[in-house]
């Protein structure tokens, strides 16, 4: 067979094939739109991509109806949008993303505020260590259609698109495994129901009996180290703190958004980590606890005159003392999320200039007097077992 062709034929065939191939892919991606950036899904049963929340949030904001949002990190992921809707009488959606920094949170809240009229924004006051890279997804939150198309140059979304299209006919095991068609809007953020998380609640023994990865072991070792230094009274001062730049970041993000959107009520909650966590910081004389207190004071005082901001502190409540309410030193049971909604509804646990000093005195005292060793001795014994 003579396979020779003319130069002109060569050029035209290459260009035609390439333009058609990439044109069809791009067109198909916009039609299938696995992240729902451009439109609602072709078929109702196609659900949301939980593993891609930094991208997925843009799609939900663009194409779904709501007038209030819960948008934080893992501390708010278990807050039920349905409960929030019932309790606060507004149409809520929970768009929280695990590990989302305050900077990126504010990027998303800002986009939601520009896209819709929002009655309530609920977020937690955490994520101040703003080191998270946002260049991969920030283009979805600038309101430019041509930028939005760029999301589908990412190869994994092309695979997700094929998977989602296939669900119209059949569910493919591979697609199910890669969470291409994941979950409903109500359950999109929650992590509590996952076995590995759920089973850790109920007491320190449950933390230790499950299989712990290196990240958890590192965390346990850190607790043991802190406890050991408290026991032996030789704790070294730690200079860096996750709250070092908190005030500056707060001013540039949430405070700015609240000032620009006076019709929207901002409910800001200091997430109630376990007493163990604060006690370890306080008793080891870490400056992180002092930074935390300074942050609370500054944020409350800065927000005092701003009518659409309410700040809540729940660190003084007794559930923080009981480690069975936590799956690790920070993450609490979903019933705490529900208590937060009730607090918002009833204006409970509000931090104001009047309540601030007594609140701080109380949480300092609780942290100082908490018996950490009941828990840390068990952790030390567990870690010794691992060494053997």
């Amino acid at each position: 067979m003579n396979s020779k062709i003319e130069y002109q034929t060569f050029v035209i065939s290459i260009l035609t094939f390439c333009i058609s191939f990439f044109g069809i892919i791009l067109f198909s991606m916009v039609i299938i739109d696995p992240l729902k950036i451009f439109h609602k899904p072709l078929k109702d049963s196609i659900n949301f991509m939980k593993g891609e929340m930094r991208y997925q949030v843009a799609g939900i904001i663009n194409n779904y109806e709501f007038d209030s949002i819960i948008l934080g990190a893992s501390m708010l992921q278990n807050t039920s949008a349905k409960d929030a809707t019932d309790i606060l009488q507004s149409s809520f959606v929970n768009l929280s993303v695990g590990g989302l920094s305050m900077g990126n949170r504010s990027l998303m809240i800002d986009y939601a505020l520009k896209s819709k009229k929002l009655n309530h924004v609920i977020t937690t006051l955490d994520g101040f260590a703003d080191s998270e890279n946002k260049s991969n997804f920030s283009f979805l939150y600038n309101g430019t259609f041509l930028d939005d198309i760029k999301v589908y140059k990412t190869r994994r979304f092309v695979i997700d698109a094929v998977c989602q299209l296939s669900t119209i006919y059949v569910e493919i095991a591979y697609c199910k495994k890669r969470n291409s068609y994941d979950t409903s809007l109500e359950l999109i953020t929650e992590w509590y129901s996952t076995y590995d998380h759920k089973e850790r609640f109920g007491g320190i023994e449950n933390w230790l009996k499950l299989e712990n990865n290196s990240q958890i072991i590192d965390q346990l070792e850190e607790i043991a180290e802190q406890a050991n230094c408290i026991k032996n009274n030789y704790c070294e001062a730690i200079k860096s703190s996750t709250y070092d730049n908190a005030i500056g970041i707060f001013d540039k993000t949430i405070l700015k958004l609240a000032l620009e959107n006076s019709d929207t009520k901002f409910h800001l909650i200091f997430p109630p980590y376990s007493r163990l966590k604060y006690a370890l910081l306080k008793q080891s004389n870490s400056n992180e606890f002092e930074s935390y207190i300074t942050t609370i004071k500054n944020i409350v005082m800065r927000s005092e005159a701003i009518e659409n901001i309410s700040i809540y502190g729940m660190d003084h409540l007794t559930f923080s003392d009981d480690i069975s309410n936590y799956k690790d030193p920070s993450h609490y049971h979903p019933r705490v999320n529900q208590e937060m909604l009730k607090a918002i509804k009833n204006n409970h646990f509000l931090l104001t200039s009047q309540t601030l000093n007594s609140y701080i005195e109380e949480i300092e005292s609780l942290a100082k007097n908490y018996d950490i060793f009941l828990i840390t001795n068990q952790i030390e014994s567990y870690l010794r077992g691992l060494e053997i």
Partner: protein, 495 residues
């Protein structure tokens, strides 16, 4: 702007091409050049417009110096003689390079030696400064030697800024480029050139996106992330970087040649299968050829000319010094000085071998042994090219030559279990750099490709349009474009 980006491939290149040839068809003389210059400046300033004034000032300055050199052609004995003007031009260009590239290096070393505390300057290295500076020095020398008489600023601007070769070269002479823009045959769309251009561009894109970027993962892990490396990890790290560097740079060059061809412009070859070299002299005749030519003509020759009573030993000293400077040209770091010195020593040794030792010892080095020594020497020198500092370099080099930390793939445990008596361990042998058995396979395949296959320029010379070449081009293009998922810059952008 990167050649390996969607914006470049789908928007910038087609738009520049179609408007350029449309303007050519209108018989407007300057409009196509103005368009190409504008597009090139957009290409240069895409990521940061801040250095556009710098490159434009540099171009303007050099153009006026060259005009002055031509004007003062006959005034040899006055202060503003041709020679003095050339000196002013060269010193100014080198001064610019020193200020932007080496000032902070100089201050750091002064602080270190004299325990002083001089503040570093707030300087960001302007993109492509090392390349457009060298190209302009060549232009001034060509003007001085009456090899070029460029009177049009527009032409000179196009010569320096023509986007396929603006950022990373190749470093070209005026007479190699500009007559092609004036040649009326090149005013029209040429399907043969477009075919060749697309073909070579697709190979370059594949080299960069698929091969270089894949090896980059192991090189980065080994140099920047891993605290310790075992014997195999160290070798895979260094080889990965050697292949990354070659495919990254030669991929860029292929793309540059391809894009220029689409505009009917031929730019010179910069690589010719360097890893097939059987000596360091041979290597530098195949690697970054236009830089090697520059080093020979503009660094080595003036040093040699400055010696009185020239002999072979002085010529070797000149070779060593030229490569020391060439090493430092790559970047402001002692690692580049070591890299340059190693290549200088390699070249000197190679010269002495060819001229004296081969005859004296009556040894005719076997080709395969010569290749083996050359390849490994280049690979070891590249460790210093990549390392940020001495500790990075020594981490890799020490592990490459330490037999105390050999981890053998568990695949061989049954057959080689006796080696455990000698302290060798079986297990995940590339764990610290994120590699596995397939990594070794990729290195072997890549080695076979660079040693036994035709290089892209040889393929270009024998290219004939056919169904098979179309399928191959489509494969390279589509597979590469589907793999463009990040802003992967080119290594030489740092220089």
């Amino acid at each position: 702007m990167l050649f390996n980006s969607f914006g470049f491939i789908f928007i910038f290149l087609p738009a520049t091409f179609f408007v350029y040839f449309y303007l050519r068809s209108t018989q407007l003389v300057n409009a196509p050049k103005v368009w190409l210059i504008s597009a090139s400046l957009l290409f240069y300033g895409w990521s940061n417009f801040i250095y556009l004034p710098l490159i434009l000032s540099s171009i303007l300055f050099n153009f006026f110096i060259s005009k002055a050199i031509l004007k003062f052609d006959l005034v040899n004995k006055q202060f503003l003689s041709k020679k003095n003007l050339l000196k002013v031009g060269i010193i100014s260009n080198i001064g610019l390079l020193i200020y932007f590239k080496y000032m902070n290096f100089f201050i750091t070393n002064v602080n270190s030696v004299f325990s002083s505390n001089i503040d570093l300057l707030n300087i960001i290295l302007p993109l492509a400064i090392s390349f457009f500076t060298l190209q302009q020095i060549i232009f001034l020398v060509d003007s001085y030697e009456d090899l070029v008489k460029e009177k049009s600023f527009l032409n000179y601007l196009l010569f320096i800024t023509f986007f396929p070769q603006l950022i990373l070269g190749p470093i070209v002479h005026h007479h190699q480029m500009m007559p092609q823009f004036e040649d009326k045959k090149n005013y029209f769309i040429n399907y043969k050139n477009i075919s060749l251009g697309i073909f070579i561009f697709s190979i370059g894109l594949f080299k960069k996106v698929v091969i270089a970027d894949s090896f980059e993962v192991f090189a980065t892990q080994g140099f920047d992330v891993a605290n310790t490396l075992n014997f195999f990890e160290a070798w895979v790290t260094s080889l990965s970087y050697t292949f990354q560097l070659y495919f990254d740079f030669s991929g860029y060059m292929d793309m540059a040649v391809g894009i220029a061809l689409i505009f009917n412009i031929q730019i010179p070859q910069n690589f010719n299968s360097p890893f097939k070299a059987s000596g360091i002299i041979d290597f530098w005749q195949r690697w970054h050829i236009t830089l090697s030519n520059f080093i020979t003509t503009y660094i080595y020759t003036p040093i040699v000319m400055s010696f009185k009573n020239l002999n072979i030993h002085k010529a070797m000293l000149a070779t060593f010094l030229a490569f020391l400077i060439a090493g430092l040209w790559h970047g402001a770091s002692w690692m580049f000085v070591i890299f340059g010195s190693l290549h200088g020593i390699g070249l000197v040794t190679n010269q002495y071998w060819n001229k004296y030792w081969k005859k004296k010892f009556k040894i005719n080095l076997n080709f395969y042994l010569a290749w083996f020594i050359t390849f490994n020497y280049v690979n070891i020198a590249n460790v210093f090219f990549r390392a940020r500092d001495w500790s990075d370099a020594s981490k890799v080099i020490n592990s490459m030559f330490s037999v105390d930390n050999i981890v053998i793939p568990s695949l061989f445990e049954n057959k080689l279990i006796f080696l455990s008596n000698y302290g060798m361990v079986f297990g995940e042998f590339l764990n610290n750099i994120g590699g596995n058995n397939r990594t070794i396979l990729w290195i072997l395949i890549t080695l076979i490709i660079v040693l036994f296959f035709k290089n892209s320029m040889e393929l270009l010379k024998t290219f004939k349009p056919s169904i098979w070449s179309a399928l191959l081009t489509l494969f390279f293009l589509i597979y590469s474009i589907l793999n463009i998922s990040k802003n992967s810059s080119f290594i030489y952008f740092n220089f």
